[in-house]
Symmetry: C2
DNA sequence: ATATTTGCAAATAATTTGCAGTCGA
DNA sequence: TCGACTGCAAATTATTTGCAAATAT
């Protein structure tokens, strides 16, 4: 079960990241929206209330969050990265009709994989593509 | 069980693709190398023996193959697509040490996914990241 | 002859980099 | 003050597009 993150600053500090304003806003956006945004979406949403924000900072911050394992990069699109702050195991479904990305529950640990004896697995990713009920 | 593709031309024709020389060479490369190449790798390898080849043709051809389900695009890298002609269900493992991409066997059908009732699933993808035995 | 395929060059899009200015302990 | 953080602009890289030339049926 997940807990809402009350204080983004503390959360960052716990992960050894200095809680600048931009970083807290970006983290808050990811955590509250849960919409698997692209860099562009993050930037354009936040720049409205934080006019000095630059895309470079969004890129820098996401890189930092990735290293600290606070967010995961999602490679479900052909040519742009999306980001996800949810830590629990789940897969992503991309609807080829509307483009929306849905979460679903998947048992990553229970997944039977053969041929990786002696490999050190650090990260497991699952994504599906198809058509969502709304588009059917 | 898979059968080796003896004749790339016939194979293309069966899939309603006109067997131009470039297309056959690209298909042959994918099928024989099984190395999950990028567009660049395909282009640079083939242009040595096929000097008139252009990257545009590689892109066009891969798009065509994708539509015909002859190849799958792999989004395991951050910013470049890789391609795979193997049709059987398998996952990909990327070693963060050497960058090599390994295949492994995974039971995609047996994968338990909850929360996708009413969704039409057309494609399932699994990829892991970590460190391979050689790099450990 | 006609449609398809190809290739060049330019355009677009995402991301990275260099560097200078700013901010905070 | 000093190092970390930010932001602009330029550079880089992957991919797409427009169109004309080549090719195949």
């Amino acid at each position: 079960m997940e807990r809402p993150i009350e204080n983004y600053g503390d959360y960052l500090v716990k992960h050894h990241i200095r809680p600048s304003y931009a970083r807290m806003k970006i983290l808050q956006y990811l955590v509250t929206e849960k919409n698997h945004p692209t860099v562009d979406e993050i930037y354009h949403t936040l720049v409205k209330r934080l006019p000095t924000l630059s895309k470079t900072t969004v890129y820098n911050t996401l890189e930092l969050f990735k290293d600290a394992k606070l967010v995961k990069q999602i490679n479900i699109e052909e040519n742009t990265a999306r980001y996800d702050a949810t830590v629990s195991d789940h897969g992503h479904f991309k609807c080829q009709g509307c483009g929306r990305i849905y979460d679903f529950t998947v048992d990553l640990d229970g997944m039977k994989a053969a041929g990786l004896e002696g490999f050190q697995i650090e990260e497991k990713n699952v994504y599906f593509k198809g058509v969502c009920p709304k588009c059917l």
